[in-house]
Symmetry: C2
Subunit: 679 residues, 2 copies
Amino acid sequence: MKALALVAVCAAIVGLVVALILASWIKKSDQGTDRMKEISGFIREGAFAFLKREYKIMAIVIIVLALLIGIGLQSVTTAILYVFGAVLSVLAGFFGMNVATWGNVRTAAAAKDSGMNKALKIAFRSGAVMGLAVSGLGLFGLGIVVVCLDLATVVQCITGFGFGASSMALFGRVGGGIYTKAADVGADLVGKVEAGIPEDDPRNPAVIADNVGDNVGDVAGMGSDLYESYCGSIISAITLAAVAAAASGGLFDEATAALFPLIMAAVGIISSIIGIMMVRGKEGSNPANALNMGTYIASGIVVIVSIILSKAMLGSFSFAIAIIAGLVVGVAIGKITEIYTSGDYKSVKKIAEQSQTGSATTIISGLGVGMMSTVWPIICIAVGIFAAYFATETVGTGMGMYGIALAAVGMLSTTGMTVAVDAYGPVSDNAGGIAEMAELPHEVREITDKLDAVGNTTAAIGKGFAIGSAALTALALFASYSAVTGLSAISLLNPIVIIGLFIGAMLPFMFSAFTMNSVGRAANQMIEEVRRQFRSDEGILAGTVKPDYAHCVDISTQAALKEMIVPGLMAIIAPLAIGIILGPEALGGMLAGALAAGVLMALMMANAGGAWDNAKKYVEEGHYGGKGSDTHKATVVGDTVGDPFKDTSGPSINILIKLMTIVSVVFAPLFVAIGGLIG
Amino acid sequence: MKALALVAVCAAIVGLVVALILASWIKKSDQGTDRMKEISGFIREGAFAFLKREYKIMAIVIIVLALLIGIGLQSVTTAILYVFGAVLSVLAGFFGMNVATWGNVRTAAAAKDSGMNKALKIAFRSGAVMGLAVSGLGLFGLGIVVVCLDLATVVQCITGFGFGASSMALFGRVGGGIYTKAADVGADLVGKVEAGIPEDDPRNPAVIADNVGDNVGDVAGMGSDLYESYCGSIISAITLAAVAAAASGGLFDEATAALFPLIMAAVGIISSIIGIMMVRGKEGSNPANALNMGTYIASGIVVIVSIILSKAMLGSFSFAIAIIAGLVVGVAIGKITEIYTSGDYKSVKKIAEQSQTGSATTIISGLGVGMMSTVWPIICIAVGIFAAYFATETVGTGMGMYGIALAAVGMLSTTGMTVAVDAYGPVSDNAGGIAEMAELPHEVREITDKLDAVGNTTAAIGKGFAIGSAALTALALFASYSAVTGLSAISLLNPIVIIGLFIGAMLPFMFSAFTMNSVGRAANQMIEEVRRQFRSDEGILAGTVKPDYAHCVDISTQAALKEMIVPGLMAIIAPLAIGIILGPEALGGMLAGALAAGVLMALMMANAGGAWDNAKKYVEEGHYGGKGSDTHKATVVGDTVGDPFKDTSGPSINILIKLMTIVSVVFAPLFVAIGGLIG
């Protein structure tokens, strides 16, 4: 067993080494003019200022929660694994974002001097470093745990590692999401709308904060989200392995079942490296083809190897069906997301068309699209659960839940590649910002805009994976929860479960209200500050005096850190409170309610936001009057509403449902011991 | 047993007789000038034209579904009861709306000649006729069924009656909701915004359709909604009586347990009559006090009598606790609704304040308020379920679900009064419209505006009852479903249940998307038509040529009837499909998912819509620049988005969750027999 776990650790190390090689390759690339270096320096400085202060808060959270675990559960091992999981999450975010802030300026420089192809390569490789850091550190940590501890301890305590990943992801996603949207909305409303200066104009005091936001929100935040899903899926598969092994009737032992997901993750890392290497843009061709090619190659390798290993390790092809089901569901949700949110399809065009009668119809039709866009992803998830469960349940009764966990592992095995494609977008976006601020020739911005546009489309797949994997991971962890609590049923005919279900369904609404209001408050502060600067010195708008970028960065930082506390605490306290007061069955109901309502809300908000964004871009391309027309103004309203939808509240719900489930798994022994104060 | 059932029938007849007396009193009141008679004639004509065509479609639906029941379930009795329940629903809607269209013009006339007090009396009594028709016909029908059939047949077949009520309610709510909002949005966007003429101006071609909409949507639609809940709650209590009686250990027999809810409903009708009689405005005092007084008196009587009857009939005070829990939850949700949607409280003021930075922030903060407003109602529902369940479960294990059904009965016992207060609003609103169109003196409109404003506040309680009762009724019917299917558990650890849960949670989103898009499409047609009329003859806007009201009425009618079909079919087909394909357990999961997500969505949409509406009114009162300011324009956008939220999609979800549950109960034997094709 230890030997196979070491194989996984080695694959993880290979991934990390490749990440380091790519990083040093990026660092050696040309940084362009002094002005570009200066601007990128500002962005780096702002990003690290945020991270530094965020980490201080996180350090306190880590210590408090580690003590809570150690004392509440009397398990030092769980507490230590919690710290381990959290620290690796922080490392992945730090390393990935560091390279992203190297990549942005170098992408701009490449676009200036060497053209689209080189620029694509740098931007994509910057994303790839984040992707390999996420999956490499995740698998490295989990592999080390399995190597160092005996299996019984692993099964008992490894959820602590997942809790560490989840709690950091929450703060990363929520804090990063608030940061980026406060800066974005503030910069847009005063700069673009009131002062009439273009996007990314250096005269706008919030412009650096806006670019910092892309890094802390879209790169580091998204990375911590997928790191959490990645670890969570493997952990739930490991904890459900015992159930599966017992149900297999001697077909395989627990250790093999526990190692299978680790080995599949190792295969995924190697496949991702191959996929990443295959991404080579050709001058003149659409970069989307190169990116998609990489994704398909990585997925294809996982499919083939999973079939072989499923039979070799576990004696049946059924487990490969679960793995493949997960992968297919992820890709399918991504494609559906694209259909509802891309300007090439009818939903976005309809929003643009309806915007001709004003912003109210923009909002109504966008919400309609968001709601409608939930239908097919939910059916995909349902089919995926069905396939993964029944394929494995036929091998042995009681094994199906392990199959669902494997589907999540399958979906996330190519995380290295998925994150690379996703993080490449914000790097290109930043490169465009730097080109604008450094007043590079117009052609440079055109190249980065094209890369960014491609990134928006390919990122749809990343979003599909983020939501789909959150659903499957939370469900797999839910199964782990039932295994740990020893509940044989959580019946909807028990009113205490229904009460839990109602409360659980309410939590994503409450959580979204918190995060949306946070963005509103933070954006208002930013608006005030930008207005104040414009008023205080006329030279700023004239371009003769430099604005005070640092102050805007500081406002976003402070607001994000302050505003992330309440929703963060809520996600940890809610399951603890329900578990202690109403007992483990009510908590089961709550988790199911939060899972179902949360996935729906996350899909609705992410897709409505994406559709509004692209409806605006569609009008800007010249449809229905183009830029500056009333229709355009209406779509700008939609885009502004959509910003917190798609980049703050929606993705944060992914974390909420996973974090609440893992809190429940970790503290399940406590709830069982208390048995519900009044439940 | 039959004797007690006859008591209920007699109480129902008393209620209906009082309704007739009130109706003839209203009819005898003065109708005002010839111009007023003419306008009210147009409104009546439009309303009945809609109803007539709606009833034609409903007749087809009734025949098809009756055949489906008769053949699919091989139960002629269920099919007959289905038709009975549906026909009584139609009668209640027809009778109530008829009197409402008498009341509107007479309220205006009274406001002109006799002042506020008389106007209040006529408007309120018009609402009271609807209230007594709904509860009187509901209880009459159910009482007759119990009198005529033996108990075993009643328990087996009476859900058919509820299905009849539900299927009519769906078309009434959805069709009426689409009708009223298409006309409203169309009239406002072209008349008020484009042509700059006031609301209810006779030059606006859509003005009659708008006033018709108040009657078919807010009176008839709302009435059919509460008729459905009213019948559904009593039916679920009757079907759960057998379980309760078996669990009581000989404390009471099944017949007594089945009659208790009927008798409590009878008490509720008599209490409502007393409450209605107590509503007497004093010249110079706030009419809200008179209305609230009536509600509190009716509720107080129910509370006291329930305590006595609970002990006398069922030998324990515990059942009164369940009744009272339901009543308290209804009132509490109403109060919370008021706090989040009234201009007197901080949420609405905050939306108005944030509207200063444009319509995007109006939308963001309104959605935030809507999401946040779900928290306390859900906690109230949870506490109500907890109290009702555990109070009765302590009497005998297995009795708790009957207690939850009793909570729903308790909440709905004063339906007569609740509907009266709710329907009084649109009657006053219509009176104001008639006053405007007949060019009555400004003071008349002031009186009707004041009545309308009070109606908006008191209607919050009605909305609380509508959503709260939908949740409790659906939950009680869900318990009936488990009893009929004989499922001992519907466990969330069964993946097929989770699949059902996901699909169920998705349905309210899909349904809302349908209804919102329907309103959008219908409103667009109306906009085109009003514009066309203005263009075709300049005399219309000059006031020298009468517009073609009938054509606008026709557009709303056609659009509503066409658009209600798809969501209507969806609500009936979804449970049938899941029940047949995936089996009864998956269907249980689906119902729970739809219940939880549906209640949340309904609360969110209704309250966001109400808050936007009142934020606009708050600005119109002179805050933040008042009418015509940019802030006002931003709040108008919020109000326009809120219209389909609060008057179409939100309330329609109430019906969706009840209807899907009752379809499941009715067809449960079929699903059990098939057992799920692939589940």
